[in-house]
């Protein structure tokens, strides 16, 4: 009993090591290709769980089964209308045929290299053969680009902003061009998306300048509109003022004229009965009003008033 103990322990340890070598675990996110001295044995293990292989001789090669990311190298690319832009694309891919994948690219790191070689040029091809607007826009949705004061200009611009294909179409094109080339590596390209597009620095600056100029113009337009409107209101005011005062003047003059006419008629009617007597009366009245101590009087003795002064007439 005592002599058998250590042997048993050793046996158990050996068994343990063998079991450890024979069994392997496949995670939900993994798939395995079993190789024997580098040669692929059997079909790939895709389902997760505890698996077994021949210990020591066979090796389990793990590959991810889930969705993987490829991030493109953002580079300067000229569009068909010769605008330089930065395009940052990314793609998602999976290993669908681990055997092919193992045979051709061996590991995800190499795979990224292949993806670079295939997707980057495809992106480049599609960007250079399309106008910028095709990459930016996705549909011909009616844009609200109306700017007060720039209607004509904007109307001219509108057709330039129309697209024939749109971004979705272009990314699908990139996908279609790249996908068949990747099948040989056991890779399925799920999709290609454009993450960022932007003008390169110099272009951006000129776009800013254009935007600034555009805004300035609009601002100036607003200001002059304000001035114009104000002037027109002031003009209205002047006109209204003249109208009001002149109308008042007209009415006043009419009233006065009528009154003058009426009074003239009344005077004529009354005084017309004896104009001589009227002038006699009126003259006397004027004497009363006009003559006072400031006046000197030189009277001749042959006047009516002094005719008795020199002596009684015969």
């Amino acid at each position: 009993m005592k002599s058998k103990g250590p042997i048993l322990i050793i046996l158990l340890l050996v068994a343990g090591v063998i079991a450890y070598q024979a069994a392997y675990i496949v995670d939900e996110t993994e798939q395995v290709v079993v190789t024997q001295f580098g040669r692929i044995v059997g079909s790939p293990v895709i389902s997760p769980g505890l698996k077994f292989k021949v210990p020591f001789i066979q090796t389990a090669n793990y590959f991810p089964k889930n969705l993987l990311t490829w991030d493109g190298d953002p580079g300067q690319i000229p569009t068909l209308d010769k605008t330089f832009i930065y395009v940052d694309a990314f793609a998602r891919w999976k290993i669908v045929d681990p055997v092919k994948f193992f045979q051709t690219v061996n590991n995800p790191f190499n795979a990224i290299g292949r993806l670079n070689d295939i997707i980057d040029p495809a992106v480049r091809d599609f960007i250079t053969s399309n106008r910028l607007i095709e990459v930016v826009r996705n549909s011909n949705r009616e844009l609200d680009i109306s700017e007060i004061g720039r209607e004509d200009e904007q109307r001219e611009r509108r057709p330039l902003l129309a697209v024939n294909y749109g971004r979705q179409f272009i990314t699908e094109g990139i996908l279609k061009q790249s996908q068949p080339k990747l099948a040989q590596f056991g890779i399925e390209l799920v999709d290609v998306k454009i993450k960022r597009i932007n003008y390169v620095e110099e272009v951006r600056q000129s776009v800013y300048d254009r935007m600034i100029a555009e805004r300035r113009q609009i601002a100036e337009k607003f200001r002059s509109e304000g001035r114009g409107e104000a002037q027109s209101i002031l003009g209205d005011k002047e006109r209204e003022l003249k109208l009001i005062t002149s109308e008042a003047y007209r009415i006043a003059q009419e009233l006065k004229g009528k009154a003058d006419a009426e009074s003239t008629r009344l005077y004529a009617e009354a005084f017309g009965v004896d104009p001589v007597f009227y002038s006699f009366l009126r003259t006397l009245e004027i004497y009363r009003e006009a003559l006072d101590e400031k006046n000197s009087l030189v009277l001749s003795t042959d006047s009516e008033f002094l005719k008795y002064f020199k002596g009684l007439p015969e």
């Binding site: 322990i9 158990l12 343990g16 079991a19 024979a22 939900e28 993994e30 769980g49 505890l50 889930n66 990314f90 998602r92 607007i133 930016v136 826009r137 996705n138 844009l143 609200d144 611009r157 971004r167 799920v190 454009i194 960022r196 932007n198 003008y199 951006r204 800013y208 935007m211 805004r215 300035r216 601002a219 607003f222 304000g226 209101i233 005011k237 003022l241 009001i244 005062t245 008042a248 003059q253 006065k256 009528k258 009154a259 009426e262 009074s263 009344l266 009617e269 009354a270 005084f271 007597f277 009366l281 006397l284 009363r288 006072d292 400031k294 006046n295 000197s296 030189v298 003795t301 002064f309």
Partner: protein, 345 residues
Amino acid sequence: MSWDWDKLKDQQQKMGGGVPPNVEDLVKKVKNIKFPGGPLFIVVLLVVAALWSSVFTVKQDEVGVVQLFGRYVRSAQPGLNFKLPLGIERVTKVNVKGIRTEEFGFTSEGAPARSRLVAGETEIVALMLTGDLNVAVVPWIVQYRVKDPFNFLFKVNDNRRLLVDMSEASMRLVVGDRSINEVINKRGEIAMIARDLLQNEMDLAESGIHIVTVEMKRTNVPVPVQPSFNEVNQATQEKEQLIYQAREDFNKAIPAARGEAERTIRAAEGYALDRINRAKGDAARFTAFYEEYVKAKDVTRRRLYLETLNDVFPKLGEKFIVDHDQKNLLPLLNLGKQKKNGIAQ
């Protein structure tokens, strides 16, 4: 040593994929061998370790995803849970209630700088081309939570990266179809469309992520362009101001002028009344007087004449009486000192 392989396989089937037999064997053997003394302690230790690793708790906002040798077997609900010990079953706890936030194009204060971002990239994330080929600055946040822990853990290699990339792509897709005006003014609409696009992409990728909300921060034009945009706002204000002032002027002047006009007319009316009444009065007086005058023309005339003289004469200043036979007297009088000359008949 092929017996080991077969035995293992048999046992595996018998146990229904349970505990690998060699562990229990080992325990049994160890117990048999080192019976006296220390072995008991080791056994107890092993049992405790086994129990310890077979119990786990799941918090209220979590789901425990249990994997048996890497294979998904069940989800554990909140509370105390059991699993097979010693690494046979492994549990990954996923927070399914907590809302996670990703920021794009800005960093909120106090938030730890994101390792993903190299310096200066924040601005680039927010810079976007609009549908009318202008440049806009569009910062936004995405809030999301896990809706399917299984998909979340197993279907996508790097969920966060997928979310970040897809958010940017979706937002740019939406902004690319909008004009600069729309980007600045219709943030709510853009956020909603971007959310739906993003959710759709996340579902297609089986990411197990639910997008709670996409929220736009303040969209703007790039910094160098901003002053000119403000200038437009300012100009609008100025325009309003100018018009307002002119209106004020108008409103000040016109009612006053109306009043003035009214006054002029009233005054004219007054003048008219005055004229007519006076005329009537004068006429009536004359007519009445005349009626009596006619009855004794000559004497009345004389009376009137003399009465007038009687009134006027005493009031007069210097009086000169000149004989009508005397000639050339007039030039000798210093009439210049008098302002006015009297009447010479």
